[in-house]
Symmetry: C2
Subunit: 328 residues, 2 copies
């Protein structure tokens, strides 16, 4: 890292997941100037979980001279439920180490700076508004579509938290109340219908139901239909496979129903879509506004920009940094 | 009207519908101290539509001495689309008289006071927050469930309008993307599934499909299943009819899916439900939070109060008044 960058305001963004902690230094322009990953011990006791986070931050400071003096805050994003107001991690299913654990207070005490926490998608949404595709917009809806679907709502550069910080669980909005049961227990959530695993599942079903239908996916999966992944569907689609194309087109239709609902409920100024599945669906983006328009009563929905997210796999680091880049 | 009331701050609330204009005087405590109805000429030219509104306001002033001097503003609610910022009525399907009509400016010029307009449900939501069931709450979701389903969102005593004022069309959020086609063109909107006409429709279907099943509704409809209305279903349910009870219970389940989605997306501090169908469903209210909890991932949804609206048929008048009772 160059000295001039170290002299700039720096924020530490930390992305805590079930198996890894990613930590990075982000400057006041939202550029990730350094980052690294460490293992996360999520199934031990609270101290082991905390030690994993500290190890990542310490390693970041060790690798970047002068960074510790230049930082203005540490922001941590993690899977919820958590309370962004008190900085307490409540009871995330895949961070069993922490139950009502005061993560923000512990990290703040350790490094002597302000620490904020929030859930991944909320933080990523704020990063897009501060530094990415959402700059200059007032009412912002953000969705990260990958293995799951996380969403965030930002009004006037503030994350909309709702009553306890559990708002904006858009991935678990149901568009099919009699549909397949989601991991969350509800039926027909957009996550169970359109995230990565759903793409793979629907593809496998088509391949099984239509054994005579030719598809590059049979070769990609080496004849084992059960081995088909969403990444294979992506590759097959790019190679012109019609079955893969069909599955992705259906996914776009499902997402359009969901985005149509979002427009009718929230009428945001912009919708920003990121994540692995969103990247996979990029070829369909130009036609998406027409699909959304067909699924909402808002006659001016086409005026709402539907943008690709600026941040990719590093959205958690940028998101964490964004949390402490705002004063409120 | 007593002199002491005339000396109080007064707001005129006007509710413009497809066939009638209701106008009322509302004091600063939100009490409707006078009100009347006049016919609305909605299918003539713009001037005829305007004249209907003026006739109602003039009649209100004529019937209430000193009211004109005491009023602080006029608020008008009407079916959308309309632009609350500019006060322009855009193109409501059942107010064909007005196309991009500057209703607020016309009324303001006529009476020399500030005039605000907004759609019915938004205005009614604000009235609940100012003077009704929503007092003291920060993030409020309001639904009026009757012949249709209108909703409003109020944050910090401000109506949430979204990009152009078309937000909070909660009645047209779909929970069944392959479901019946709504009047709006979308499939599976909660309005087509659970509003008054849906209750009647589902009841008629049950009576036809189960011709041997006894039900008080057959007598209420004088043997003509096609004549069943939602009011008859209400009456039959109150008289202990099991078929009517079954239909209303299903309606509660559908609304619970929709409210569950609302909690997951918005996590409001309170949910307020009004309208004729809501009144019909009052016997089911005590169990509704359990149904909602079964349809959302928010583990603390039961802490969100689900309240009956304070205003009934006069919610439009109260709503109009509420619009001009706030300074912003």
């Amino acid at each position: 890292m160059a000295t001039s960058e170290a002299a700039d305001l720096l924020f530490v963004g930390v992305d805590v997941g079930g198996t890894k902690v990613a930590a990075g230094l982000v400057n006041s322009q939202g550029e990730i100037v350094a980052n690294l990953r460490k293992p996360m011990v999520a199934d031990g006791d609270a101290a082991a979980g905390l030690a994993s986070v500290i190890a990542a931050i310490d390693a970041l400071f060790a690798a970047n001279a002068n960074a510790r003096e230049a930082i203005r805050g540490i922001g941590i994003c993690a899977p919820g439920p958590l309370d962004p107001k008190t900085g307490i991690v409540i009871n995330p299913p895949n961070l069993k180490c922490w139950r009502n654990f005061p993560l923000a207070a512990e990290i703040s005490q350790r490094y002597g700076v302000a620490v904020k926490i929030d859930n991944d998608a909320n933080a990523a949404a704020l990063a897009e508004v501060r530094w990415g595709a959402g700059r200059g917009y007032k009412n912002v809806f953000y969705a990260c579509i990958g293995t799951g679907i996380g969403t965030g709502i930002v009004f006037d550069e503030r994350i909309y938290h709702g009553r306890t910080g559990a708002a904006a669980e858009g991935g678990h909005v149901s568009i099919d109340y009699r549909g397949p049961v989601c991991g969350c227990g509800k039926r027909g959530c957009i996550e169970i219908l359109a995230a990565g695993p759903a793409i793979a599942r629907r593809t496998r079903a088509k391949l099984s139901e239509q054994p005579a239908r030719e598809s590059a996916l049979r070769a990609l999966a080496r004849g084992n239909v059960d081995a088909v992944t969403s990444e294979m569907v992506d590759a097959a689609n790019l190679a012109g496979d019609t079955l893969a194309h069909e599955v992705l087109r259906e996914t776009v239709e499902l997402l359009a129903v969901w985005l149509g609902n979002t427009v009718d409920f929230l009428e945001p100024d912009v919708m920003i879509v990121g994540g692995g599945v969103a990247a996979m669906l990029r070829p369909f983006f130009p036609e998406l506004p027409d699909h959304v328009a067909a699924h909402c009563v808002n006659s001016r929905s086409r005026e709402i920009p539907l943008l690709a997210a600026h941040y990719g796999a590093d959205s958690g680091i940028a998101g964490g940094a964004a949390l402490c880049s705002v004063d409120r």
